[in-house]
């Protein structure tokens, strides 16, 4: 199984969630995040004060999926989150040893 972490623009959250549902992804974790890559922040001046927006608002979505489903899910996230502009975000994939369902101690893919 693989863990997929996607950092996306907040405005793309609804589209990505829908795409994941279409791929049959039942569970995911969504976190409010801040960050930047090549898309730097900026400074806004308001009534004589400067407000720096160095770290831009982002959404991080995390999920663990079966190996055979991973590629399709990654493709779906990419397509839904893409606008073509700098700041679209990134997807990270890592290996997961196992998963356990706390309620009934199910383990492995069946716990996903």
């Amino acid at each position: 199984m693989q863990k997929i972490e996607a950092i996306i623009q907040p405005s793309k959250l609804d589209a990505v969630k829908e795409a994941l549902l279409e791929q049959g992804v039942q569970g995911m974790t969504i976190l409010e995040a801040r960050g930047h890559g090549r898309q730097k922040g900026h400074t806004e001046t308001y009534r004589g004060r400067e407000y720096s927006v160095d770290l831009l608002p982002k959404i991080k979505i995390e999920m663990v999926v079966a190996d055979d489903a991973a590629e399709a899910i990654i493709t779906a996230i990419s397509a839904a989150a893409r606008s073509g502009k700098i700041g679209d975000g990134k997807i990270f994939v890592s290996r997961v040893d196992t998963a356990i369902r706390i309620r009934n101690d199910e383990r492995g893919d069946v716990a996903l």
Partner: protein, 896 residues
Amino acid sequence: MSTKHTESLRDFYQQGLDAIRARFEEHQSTRAAGLEAVQARAKLADELVQKLWARFSNDPKLKTGVALLAVGGYGRGQLFPYSDLDLLYLLDGSRSELELKDSIRKINQEIWDCGIRASPSNRLISECSSLIPGNPEFTLSLMDHRFLAGDRKLYDKLAEQTLPKLLASEHRTLIARLVEITLERHNKYANTLFHLEPNIKDCPGGLRDVHVCGWLTTLYTIAAHAQKHARPAPGNLTEFQHATEFLSTVRCFLHYSHGRDDNTLYWHSQDSAAAAGLALGHTGNRKIDASVWMRSFFRNARTIHRRTMQLLEEAPRVKGSTLYEQIRRRHKRVQAEGFHIEHGRIIFDTPASAKNDPANDPDIVLDLFETIARHGCKLSSEAEDRLEPALPLLAANLEEGPALWNHFRNILNAPYAGEALRAMHALGILELIVPEFLGIDALVIRDAYHRYTVDEHTFVLIDTLHALRNPVETLPTGRPNLLLEWQRRFGGLLADLPHPELLYLSALMHDTGKGRDTPDHSKESARMAKNLFSRMEFDPYESGIVKHLIVNHLAMSNALRRDIFDMETLRVFAEQVETPEQLRMLALLTYADISAVHPDALTPWKAENLWNLYIAASNYLDRTVDDDRVKSRASSELIARVTTLSPASSKEIRAYLQGFPQRYLRTRTPEQVFSHFEMSQKLPPAAEDPEKAEPEARAVELALNHALPVSELTLVARDRSRLFATMAGGLAAWGMDIVNADAFSNGAGIVVDSFHFIDRFRTLEMNPTERTRFLKSMKDALTGVESIEVLLATRTRNGKRRTPKVVVETQISFDHDASSHSTLLQVVAQDVPGLLRAIAVTVADHECNIEVALIDTEGEMAIDGFYITRHGFKLDATRANQLREALIVAIARNEL
């Protein structure tokens, strides 16, 4: 006891339980089904226990000196399906507990073997005669007691002597302890009855509160008797009794469906309760939606919670108890006409039987709620009991119009507005003033996000807005306030609002449309608000602001779902909000609206995004003002509103409006714009060289609107240099403190400059005749009849320059891209008299013309924006630097 006999008793008991359950399930749609079931179960348990006791009657140890009592819920004659039997073996002490241990154990064993879960305990009667240190709860539980079996005389001694004596001597301690544990319990549930899956026993407004009401009523009666006076009889408790019946039925239902003593109204339980039409009365074949059923639930819980809080409020204050601070804010006695505040509660001055009952006087009643809104006090039970029956009289005598709005505005603007509105709503008085609110009474939006009913959400929203004025570093829970920085920033916006009552009114009305079956509740709410506007006789400016805010109250939340740093998002959003004042109010409404969905809904992340969107939109509005101009041929609702005032002059009005920034139209009422048009029609024809024309040819029109605390002076004139500087100088000479101003010009060279100012020395207020002199003096300066420098020299009353509390560094910036044909000059500096003139004169000295001016102050900071051109073009870098240097010198010189 023989096993056969035990089995027979168990069967008897089980059959009885089955019959009770069957009857409950058959009648569970009736409100009282639960109470009937729990009373029947208690009776059944009584029968069984008494039969069992009878079986042990030959035991000599049990013949005397031992009485078996029902206490707790069982003592009240109520036994819920999976509740334990609370039994007390009362002993007279003639035999030791050790001697009786075996006999008691056998009875308990039999009770268990019959399938009853019992919680037995033993106590000597002497132990019941005093409070057990650290455990007054035992005495509280003893307050509900019933004789079951055994030594009757021993029980009678407890019931008629021991316990009454104890309660008479210790009632104060018991009241204090009961209030403490109740408030602790409420605290555990965040002091709200609104939970997505409420615990109907322990939550505020739950069945535990019903017990608390019973205990407190008993203890208060004992206290009154000890002070040798009678406690007034409580008012109509029918609603409270009905609510108790409702919750009892729900609890029975939950026990049966969970199969255990679990009192949580889970999501699926709500669905099941709705499907069964639980406790709603006969619904026929109509299917009830879970949100409709939950609406009934919250109404009933609210009734119980209200009564509980009233009774808690009556408790005498205990020194050193911080929990009491939650229910008490004022101890100062406050007197008003018809009523006074005592120990944080409002009490009417005269008895109900008096000839002119103040409870029947709408003015006194509205004053009363204003007092609640100002001080955060509560109504006494007696006051509430008098207000409820007075409703029809109040409805008949309630005046509409500005007088009503005056009262209502005072309530909305006061710091505890939410509490006053809740009290008004509970009594039905809010609905007399705002009938539109009835549709959202206890209305449930059933999803995982909306914690509160729609009416409570509205009150929480208003509480949130008021709380922005005084953000705290640590929350009442002891945790740090993670939103502190954002509350301070948004609180700053609130402090600057000229009409905060319009924001609060918009908040009150914004979701009323949810009570109607409509796809767009925002539009429906705005439509419903129209009736309120006509009842309160709002002018078009006020009603326009409120309507616009209600219709667009979701605009900012929607924009947050898009890329808030994208210019197109900003453009679309800014077009919706139109003006900086609307933007400010919308930002505040959005902040509070999100906060009031759920306690955790507004995260620092969301607050920051909201703030960033706000400042980006604010800057967008200011930067586009010069380019966004009126095209008179365009069909526009704003233009139409002006031309309808004088259709015969429609062509001339359109010509007048041509070329003004849209901002001019959006920030004035149609009547104001029309008035400026009429002033422009009185101007002399344009001179060939305005700078050299005679005074008559330079005539201007001035309009003064004197009001407290802020007056307005508007100039309409043909554009020429230094008009703005002269206006600013003239006002400074007369000692006026300019709060904000704007200056616009149209395509035909007509300027409209409006200055809002505070009359620092109250010259115009104290001497109405001076107003004519003031206007003449300003006109003479503007037409060149009198030199502004001479006026400044002879009239300037600087008064004592106060030392600023906050030192503001001067900042000057130029933006050459904000407009297609002007340079945007922005100046931030210490707000001192003469500043605006110093800036305007310096700009004029550098041969620059002010196309648009947007002047504002925030505390001690002046924030001035000017769209300027030099000979019709933007400034180049060199000229901009020269102007910057000159401004720095002029501002510094003015400050000295």
